[in-house]
Each structure stands twice: as C-alpha cells, then as structure tokens.
Symmetry: C2
Subunit: 760 residues, 2 copies
C-alpha cells in the first residue's frame, strides 16, 4: 500500500465527514462550538462527543491520575490512553472515565503504559493537527497504529468509528478495569453474540459506590475474541467447564480481533445505564437504530442547534465561538440520568422510576447555583424543573433528610459547603418556573436547613455563626448559609409562612456577626464569641475558616443584603476603598490553592466565591468599575482557545458567568428577581424564551475601547438603575445600551435596596 493510497483514503473519509458538517455549518450555532476550549489548563472540560445534557460522553483520556485533569483530557498531553464513555465537564475532582475502548494493531497491549513511554502500552501518541472536535463529534488519528478514531453521541448512546489500515492483527480493546483516578470494585462482562458484549463495573471513587452498566455492539462480527482477567485469558481449561464468554472480577478486559482491509471502518455502538445491562441494551436500541454514523451526528447537531439557538447573537467569529462554546458547556451538566424506561439508580442504590419528570444527575451546586441554574431559568425552564424534581427525589432517598450538596449519579459526595439546592429551587420558584410541587419543595428546603447533624447548621442557627472551634470553613459556611436562608425566607413569605420568613430572615443576617470592623473583613469566631486569633487575612489555611480561599474573597459574600454589607463598612466610601484594594492587593501567601487562577489581586475569577463581587460596585455608586472589570475579565479569562478558561468550568458555572456578562447582566443574588447590569461585550443578543417572547440586548457603539455604558433604555424607557428585573424580560423586551470610551459616572447610580428583596 502506497503512502499515496493511504492519504487518498483518509482524504475521502475526512471529506465525507466534513460534508455532513459543512452542510449544517453555514451559520448554525453549533458550528461555532469549539469543545477544546477549556481543555488546556484549569478548565477541565473534555473535547469528546456528547448530546445536549447527554447521558453518555465519548471522549479521549490522556491522563487518569492527576487531580487537575478531572475530565481525563489535558490538551498539552501528547498521547491518548483510550476513549471512555463518561466524563465530567469542568469539575475539580476526577471520576467517571468509565469503560475504555482502544483500537490496536499487533499483539494487543493490556496495560495502558505511561505518558513518558506511550509505546509501552495501548496508549498512543497523537497530534492536534489530526484532531477535530465539534458539537457531537470528535476525531483523532492515533499515530502509533495509524487508526483513525471518530466518536459521535446521541442522548443515551454513542458510536465509535475505528478506521484501520490493512492488517491481520487489528483489535479493539474494551477495558473495564479503569476509571479516572479511582478503583474498580468489581466488574463483569458477557459476550452475548458474535458482535455484542454487555457488562458493568462498579467504582469506589469520589462517588463511593457507582455502577455503570454498558453494552457495545460491533458492526462486524468478531473474527475471534478473548476475555482477560488479571491479564490472563478466561477460558475452559479441560477440567470442568468455565465459560470463555463471561467473567467477573476486578480487572477485566475484552479484546475483539479482526482482519481488516485497507481503511476498513469498524463501528461500535455503545450505551450506558445505571440500572442494568438489559437497560443499557434498551437505551441503545432506543437511541441508535442503524449504523449511519453521519445520521447520528446530524441528529445530534440538530439537537445542539435547537438548544444553542435559544440565544442568537451578532459578533465576530471569535465572539461567536466563545459564546456558543460557553453555551455548549453550560448545556452539558446536570446530565440526563435515567434510562429510556424512566428508571435510574437512586441515592439509596434502589432502582427508581422517574414519574412525571426526567431525572438528571451531577449537581455541582456550590458552583452552579450562582449563574448556571439562573441561566436555566431563562433558557431551560422545563429542564430546570426536571433538575429540581431530581433533587427532590434525592431528598426523598436521603437517610440524612438533606437535599443534594454535590451529588454524583446516585451518590452524595458531600463536596463543598452550604445547602445550595436551596437557591436553585427558590430562584426557580420565585421566577414562576412550573413543573414542581412548591409545598413539597419548601418542606425539603426547610428540613435541609434545619438538619441537626449537617455541618453545624443548627449551632449556626442558635449562635448566629458557625463556631470556628467546632467546624472547619466556619466563616465560608456561615456566609453561604445566610444567603441560603435568605432564599428560604423569600419562599416562605411567598407561601404565606410568615413565621418561617421571620426565622430565616434572622438567620440571613448572620453575616453581620462575623464582620470584624477593625479589619473590614469577615473573620472566624469561636463558640464563646471570641475572634479567631491569630488571624492572617491573606494566608490560605487548609481546614481553616475559609473554603478554597481567604477572607479577602469571602468578605464580600453577602449577595442577599448588599446594602447591609456597605453599612457594615461604614458607608459607600470605605466600602469602595476596601473593594478597590481587593483588585490590587496580593501578597501571594495563598500557596495551597494554586489551582485557582484568574487572579486580579485577591479577586480570583477562577473560583466561584468571587463571581458576584464585581457587581458590588453597581450598588455602591460606581457601576463603571463593574463595567471595566467585566471587560477586563472576559478579555483576559475567556476566549476561543483551549487555554481560554482561567478556572474549572465547574459544570458550566464559569461559562454561565460569561454568557450573562457577554449580554450585559448577571444574577448577582439567586433567590431574588433582579439582575445586576454589567457591560455587554457582544453587540447584539436575542434570547428566545420558552413562552415565545424574545429579549433583545443591543449595545450601540460597542468596541474594544467603548466598554462604558453611556446610557440604557429598557423596554423603551430610559433606565438609570444598575439592575433590572426578571419581570422586565420574562415576556421578552429590549435592553439597549449605548457605549462609550469613558465612564458615564452618573449613569446607574440610582439604587433602591428595598426593591431588591423580591418578596418584600
């Protein structure tokens, strides 16, 4: 076979795929999606194929140990271990990466081999020039064996296309023994016919007990196959029968062997289930009928266009790529987590059927309550209700009578702090999102906030703060509880529960107890009321009073009572002075949190506690500083490159921050109905609401230099407040900015704190 022949064939395959993509590309939103954004550095996204909120994510893994490569793929790695079926988008902790597939040529490797020597395992070198990632599609050429791998995915199933050179020793390895970072507890596999395998593995990882059942149907019957257990073939040995078609164990692999002709494509349809292999097979049958790779891709692209088309924007290619990729990343998690028959494995490890809703999983709530779920209120109201119902099902299944904290496919990880299912539920409730039972939700919200065992919540309720001698991260917890409690109060009020309103509003003021006026910062207090001493304002202490940061990031966390916080500082002037210093001061003592980047002084955009801070200028009379900072952050920490995300995307929160801000506003306090106005970075956006309304944002005169708001009209009226309300956009409307190169310091100074508390 000449090199020319190979090249020609590759070109043909490449073209056939491109044809499909090109046909749709013209100007559809999905054509701007660059899944590789965030794969280099801290973003922790993955480049693989996935449908919107899809249950299965076919994606390459380059790393399976390092904490900082939680999605399995790091752009700067030069070899791919394999392609697995499930992936996190943007988390800070690795897990998933279930059930690996890897094509090989020659004697199949059973070990993956280290990065330093990809040739000593099934791992293969690859080059970004032979890699292509788009919405619903990923392909790469494996340099080690000249096999092209393509992935696409439907809702509950996906397809690999492995294009082999001519060889008598092609094989496809399915490795059940691995996941990202953690341990396989157990697995089994069965070869049910000449081209189909089923199996499962259970993983004890970040999720303490997680079951992934799968099936894989190969387009070509195996020439031969073997199951390997602990590296040895499982087969009948002439004594008493032992099946060569099934095995159980901790370390199982399956190898399908093939003789291939030149550029022969072998397709593998795959699906997963949390319930059973039977359900995995049903999911596959329901999701993918035939063998048309291009058709599956085309359908998924349509689905992406439908979802991404909910916002139409004008802007440059780079802006569109940045914007639609952010929207794509925001629309990945929480994932669909129920089989085609509605069943899923719940928190109690029993199999439940979702009745009247569609169950979702992977709730990174400490992150996503801030902007992701508020974004869903606008763009995914039905799905947001599904997510709330999923959280209520979790609550019902919880022996601890708690809503999810950081839930992961039928597991609670107890990761991060607070009870931030609350703001998600309350925000949706206050915005009139239909589809969940408000009274039931309220009971869950209240019960969660009254749990006598959870993280000293009830001590906080009694004392007014989480005592730092009893509990780690006591200041961060106190502050976040206070906001959550504010949310409960709002819902209580709306439901006519006046006593509860008063009770939780009292708790919502707890932040005041931790403000040290001598420092102008929040500070730990012990159970006797004494300040944390000694107290280093800047140094991060692991297991100290602050969560992934210092008092500098956390001292601003009073979204529910910004006026109150300003008062604590003694008024706007000292408040602004302090706030200004946040963006300039940095003594670099926080060495233990070097995975949090995007730093402007002590403002750390790469992590969520900072996400609302720049909008505080709005409420202290200097909205032009908010405007400046929006542009600064977006210019330096977002973009269309693999390294464009400064921090973990955290299941879409970093992206959701961008999306709101690109359009000029931000939900600074979930659980209220107002948005703070920032400064738009794209010239036009049209939000197509579910009710048919369109909310239009236009920024006249916007340019790289014209980043300051000169004036605003909202629904035809001049608007001088640095915020507006959900009611101003929920049926559609027009937000018109006029931009200029210099701050208009008079604009946006009209603040009425009284109207910010929704239910008041």
């Amino acid at each position: 076979m000449s090199k020319f022949a190979v090249a020609t064939l590759f070109f043909t395959v490449f073209i056939s795929c491109l044809t499909v993509l090109k046909a749709q590309e013209a100007s559809t939103p999905s054509s701007f999606v660059k899944p590789l954004i965030g794969t280099n550095g801290e973003g922790n996204t993955y480049p693989g194929a996935v449908a919107p909120f899809g249950m299965i994510q076919l994606s390459p893994d380059t790393e399976d140990v390092l904490w900082e490569t939680a999605s399995g793929y790091e752009y700067s790695d030069s070899s791919i271990i394999a392609f697995s079926l499930t992936h996190f988008s943007g988390t800070g902790i690795p897990d998933l990466g279930d059930i690996r597939f890897m094509p090989q040529i020659g004697k199949p490797w059973l070990v993956q081999g280290p990065k330093s020597n990809p040739d000593s395992g099934y791992r293969s070198a690859y080059s970004h020039k032979n890699e292509m990632a788009s919405a619903g599609y990923y392909s790469v050429l494996l340099d080690d064996n000249n096999v092209k791998v393509e992935c696409t995915a439907a809702e509950r199933a996906g397809m690999f296309r492995f294009t082999f050179p001519k060889t008598d020793s092609a094989s496809i390895l399915v490795d059940l023994s691995k996941s990202l970072r953690w341990n396989t507890i157990w697995s089994n596999i069965r070869v049910v016919n000449d081209s189909t395998i089923i199996g499962f593995h259970a993983v004890n990882g970040w999720a303490k007990e997680r079951y992934v059942f799968f099936t894989a149907v190969f387009s070509k019957p195996f020439d031969s196959y073997s199951i390997m257990s602990d590296g040895k073939r499982v087969f009948y040995n002439g004594y008493r029968f032992r099946s060569s078609s099934e095995a159980s164990g901790k370390n199982l692999q399956f190898i399908a062997n093939y003789l291939t002709s030149n550029q022969e494509a072998i397709l593998v349809k795959v699906s997963v289930s949390s319930v059973s292999t039977e359900n995995a097979m049903q999911n596959l049958a329901a999701s993918i009928k035939g063998w048309e790779f291009e058709q599956i891709l085309a359908n998924t692209r349509k689905a992406w266009d439908r979802e991404l088309g909910k916002i139409e924007i004008k802007g440059s290619q780079e802006e569109k790529e940045t914007f639609y990729s952010a929207l794509y990343h925001a629309f990945l998690t929480p994932i669909l987590y129920q089989d085609v028959d509605g069943r899923y494995r719940g928190l109690d490890q029993n199999i439940h059927k979702a009745e009247g809703f569609t169950n979702h999983a992977i709730f990174s709530l400490w992150d996503t309550y801030r902007a992701t779920h508020p974004l869903f209120c606008l763009l995914q109201p039905k799905r947001n209700a599904d997510m709330i119902n999923s959280m209520l099902a979790h609550y019902d299944q919880s022996v601890d009578h708690l809503l999810p904290v950081w839930s992961l496919c039928g597991n609670e990880t107890w990761c991060m702090i607070g009870y931030h299912a609350v703001p998600v539920i309350v925000d949706a409730y206050l915005k009139g999102i239909k589809g969940f039972d408000a009274e039931r939700a309220y009971q869950a919200v209240k019960k969660t906030a009254m749990n006598p065992d959870y993280d000293n919540v009830m001590t906080y309720a009694k004392l007014g703060w989480v005592p730092c001698d009893k509990e780690n991260e006591a200041v961060s917890k106190s502050l976040e509880y206070a906001h959550d409690d504010f949310c409960i109060a709002q819902m209580a009020k709306s439901l006519g529960k006046t006593e509860d309103y008063d009770y939780f509003m009292k708790r919502a003021k707890s932040y005041k107890n931790l403000f040290d006026p001598t420092l102008g910062l929040m500070r730990g207090k012990d159970s006797r009321g004494n300040w944390r001493t000694p107290f280093s304002t800047h140094e991060y202490v692991e297991g100290g009073d602050f969560t992934e940061g210092t008092s500098w990031q956390y001292s601003w966390y009073v979204p529910q009572d910004i006026g109150g916080l300003i008062e604590l500082h003694g008024g706007k002037k000292p408040f602004l002075q302090k706030l200004d210093s946040l963006f300039t001061f940095n003594d670099n003592t926080s060495s233990n949190v070097d995975d949090i980047q995007g730093r402007l002084g002590e403002y750390w955009h790469g992590n969520e506690p900072s996400h609302h801070i720049i909008f505080l200028y709005d409420f202290a009379g200097e909205p032009w500083k908010t405007q400046e900072l929006v542009h600064k952050i977006i210019r330096t920490q977002y973009g269309n490159k693999p390294n464009s995300l400064s921090g973990n995307d955290d299941c879409g929160q970093m992206s959701a921050w961008y999306l709101f801000n690109a359009m000029g506003f931000y939900p600074v306090c979930p659980g209220t109905n107002y948005y703070a106005i920032g400064s738009p970075v794209i010239p036009e956006a049209y939000i197509k609401l579910d009710n048919g309304g369109i909310f239009t944002m236009k920024a006249n005169n916007l340019s790289e230099k014209n980043i300051y708001i000169q004036e605003v009209t909202l629904n035809g009226k001049k608007w001088n407040k640095p915020y507006f309300f959900y009611s101003d956009l929920k049926n559609g409307g027009v937000l018109l900015f006029t931009m200029g190169p210099k701050p208009n310091k008079k604009w946006g100074t009209e603040v009425n704190f009284g109207e910010l508390e929704t239910s008041r």
Copy 2:
C-alpha cells in the same frame, strides 16, 4: 441479681416456647424433625430455623474457613461465631452465611476471634445442653454473655429473639463483611430510621458474583448506634458532612446499643432479597406482620406439617425422627429464590420476573437428579415443575446455552460433571408432571447436550467416549453423559422425534466403549483409542479419569442399560462375582478423598456415584443381596443423631436415598418409570399424592432380623419382579411386603429388561 432469679426467668421463657411446640407436638410430623442430624461430621447440614424450601435460613455458624464445614455449623465445635441469614444444606463446598447477627454485652467486639480463644472476639462458647433445634426453631444460650438467642423463619423473612440480662451495655452486632469462607467484594448499609437498617453485600465466592440485600427491623429503637468501616466509626468529623447513617465499603459492621432490663427480649425481623433493599423490605412486610415470635413459629410448623405430612409412617420414635428429618432435609433445597413481587437476580445479573412459575435456586444436580427430584415427582410435583421452569430460565439467561450444572443463586459454579438437569426434566416429563412446556424443555435439553464447548461433549459424541488425554474425569463424564443421553432419547421418542431418539440412544451406549473386559472395569481411553496406561484400578488421582472416586465406584454407572452392563461382564455370574467383590475389597489407596465415608469395601455410600449400585443385584438375580445391603446401609449410615449421616447430605440426596429405601423402593434410573425394590425398614408408609391417591406400603413381620422379602403383593396381585412402575403407584395403590429372617432367593428373579426403558 441472684442465680435463682436468672434460673426462674430462663425457665419461664423456655416454658413459653415449649408450650407452643408442645401444643403441636402430639404426633405431627414436624415434631419428629431433628435438624441437628447431619451436623456432626460429613453431613454438612445446619441446625437453624427455616421454612419448607425457605429463602432464608437463620442458623448459627461455628466455622467459616474449613471446606468440610460447608453449612457453617459443626456440632463438635464448642463456640458460635454468630447467626447468619443464609445456609447451604449438605453441600461439599462452603458459601452463603451472609449477614451475621450477634448479641454482645460490654464493649462490642468487631472481630470474631478464633475457635481456640472465643473470648478474644464476638464468638461465644455454648453448650449443646442449652441448645434446641426443631423444625422452624433454633435456640441456644451464649455462655460468654448469658444471652439467649432464638431464631424462627417464615418463607422470605425470619426473626431473632435475643434475651439479655440486665445491663447498660447490651449490643447487637450486624457484620456485613463476612460469609462462609469467601470474600466480600463490597457492601453498604443505611440506617433508615430509629430501628431499621438496610444494606447489601456482594460476595465473590463459590458463586463468582452473588448479591444479598437485607433489612433488619429491631423491636426496640436503638439507644444509640454506630456504623464501623474497617473497624473505625463512620461519622461526621467537623469538616464537611459525612453521614453517620450510611456507609459503603468492604468491611462494614453495624452496632445497635441498648440498655436492657433483666431478661429483656429484643426481637429483630430480618429478610433477604437478591434484587434490592426495597425488595427485602417488601419481603419482610409480606412475610412477617407483627412481633409475635410464637405465631411465626406456629405458622412455619404448620407449613412443615403440611409438607412432611405427605408421607405418614408407622415406626419407632427413632425411625420417625430419622424419617421425618430426612424428609425435612429433602425439603430444604432448591430454595425459593424470588421476592414477593416475583423478581429475582438471574444468571445474567439482570433482574427478572418469574412469570407463571415460582423461581428456585441452588441446584446441586449431580447429586439430586438421582433420588431427590424423583422424590419431588411423587411429593412435590408442582414445585418440581417450578424448579424445571427455573432451570429453563437459567438456560435462557445462559450465554453458553446450557442448562444449569451446579447453579447457585444467579450463578453457575460449573461444579461436578454431566448435564443432569436433563434427567430431572425428562424424569418429570415422563411421569406426566404438568406445568412446563415440554417442547421448550426438549430444545434446552438437546442444545445443552450438543454444546461444542462444554467439557468435550461433542468429542464424546463423535468418538463414543470422552478422550482422557483431552479432558479430566473422562470416564466419569462419558458414563454420566451416556445416561443423560438415554434420558434425552426417551423424551425425543415420546415427542415423536425419531431421529433424535436414535441419535441419543446411540450415545447412550457409549459406556460400552470404556469397559475393559480384561479387568471387568471401566477404564480411560485416549483420543486415538488407546487404554489409559498405566492404570491403577483403585488409586484416586486428582484430575484423573474419575470424579471423586475410582473405577471401582464408576464401573457400575450404567443405570440406563443394566442388562447391557451384565452382558459386558459375560453374564450374571461373572457380573455378580465382580459386584460382590466391590463390597469386600478395599486397598485404602484412595487417600485424597477422605471426606467421602460410608464405605463398605469400595462401595462408598457417602458419595453419590455409589447410590444406585446395590440395586444392580435386583437385576442380576440376587435381590436378597440388595435387601441385605439396604438394611446394612441404613442401620450403619442413617439415624437420629448429629453424626448419623455418613456423607454430605448434598441438598437432600443422601436423605432422599434413605426415604425411598425406608419405604422399600428406589428410582435406580431417573428418566425411566420403574423403581427397583429394595427392602423396607419401616413397617408402614402412606404416600399422599397430589391427585388424592394414597400409596400404601406395609411390611409385615418386619424386624431387625426379618429384613428379607418373602413375598410381595402389589395392588392386590402377587408380585415377583424386583421392580415396579410409576403407573402402579401414581394414582395410589398398595405395596405389601412379607418379611422374614432368611432370603427367599426365588422372589424377585423375574426381570424383563425390555420393559425398563420407559418409552419403548
């Protein structure tokens, strides 16, 4: 507390229980059951509480490592480890022993402690004088802490009653980390309220992957509780929440703590499921409503009386105890293996629902096809059909397209040889047992016997023997396949499949190929047709040509063609000479099989390959020798003592052998409709058939000396054949023996081999 007070209280409790038992005892069959029979030595039965064919078996474990204590309990042990929920009856390999319960006083032990020092763990000394076992009931006083433990069981749930002395440190340990001999893969536990726990463990043991879900409801709310993981308490540590009410891991234990008053009884209701904890809870709710220990016991005793009452006998106390205990042991396995909703975990690890039948599990087919299932044809026809449907479901779920060989709760162990689901199915089919689809069963039977991968079956089919150079246990396999094939032929003939009949009858003659006329014994042959050389007739070789024995036991295995075997020997005279020598010769070279006892020369009654041999005398003109040997074996190897079983009861086969023979006949060739006549050891028996007919057996003049048949009348006619037919008893009838002290060598010499093949 005085010793006197304790004694009085114990007496009261003891009396209350005795009252229940006494009320029923008068003369009900269950009152004669002594579950301890077979617990001392090789019998491997368990003494605990169980309902007929019950899904749960609450029983004490004294040993969890040794192979030879497969049921967990050895009578000669002087300490009890704990009480677990599941047990084998009579197997040769340990497994089960799932989910241990153990009451303690003082600081709870988390380790069991060795037999040599029961005080160094939760294991407790006990004495047989404080132990009581009867049908559905077991109790013992634990000497270490003076706690009385009682167990009773319904179909899918059981109850413990722990009677404590007055103490402030009572506790009940639930240990999920152990089973009999094998490894826990994983487990989880949840405390769902103040008195209920649920959980599961998965075991990789004899069954490669077995899941036991359970629930336990305590009659008294826990004063406090803890979950231990790897010996450390699982609880919230002040950092971020970790539930103290649930855990997952490999080594989990739960401890319920109580302050108890003197002689306070704490009851624990328990249930199991192969499906889920939800199903375990449903099973419990359906099986046991309230807290009346005595009522549960009374119901189970009624159930036992109903089942055991299917045979009424006359005889001495010892005879009744021996007989009804054997019937009890025969009615334990295969166990009920489906939840109250009909669901169970199948061979493919998917959850199946049994439609139109009741699923059963634990098929020790190499043993039970011989006499246990033939006994079920008479006494449990409906349940036998359920068992056959269970085997067909297994077949449907088998990737290897095989009926069960030795199946264990959703697992195939591949233990022992042959395809003996076949004689079970064919025997039931030929006897007209209703309730399964004959054509479907035939397809499964045939497919199983034609499997190209299973133990060289197809090589045997081609060559006429299993070649000993290709396969271990080649002679035993050849001989047993030949009988199985005979059975298939009978079913084929009955279904009008003449070609199949001819084909399998040809295979059924394969035994002839391995008869070495120079030795008068069966001998291995290699794939080129050469005899095994060198060949030791008596020495057992592990992995040699014979299964758990030597040529001496196996050379008689031609139940399907006894006439043909006699011919091979050159006629009755040389045949009888050889057969006589079996019972006298023993060179003790078979040292590797010392767990098989009950030896009369080279006849080893303690293992199944010998079970049909003594009836060969019937067909060679010397039925008086059969008669003599029946009495000799029953006198020396059965009885009412813990050590009365000479070999593994093997899920009822040893007991079923006794039951038939006690009544004077035996199904020497399953898959035919005749019974060989032996010699009754009880004077009267009345078999109450499902169709309302009663089959009466009377043995006039029977005594310890009068063991020889003088004459027989069958249904009123003089009977001189040493066998009779299923048709003679199936609608009821009378078999009347007249016994005497000397053989009547003329009786029973009328043999017509032609009429023995059923379908002929």
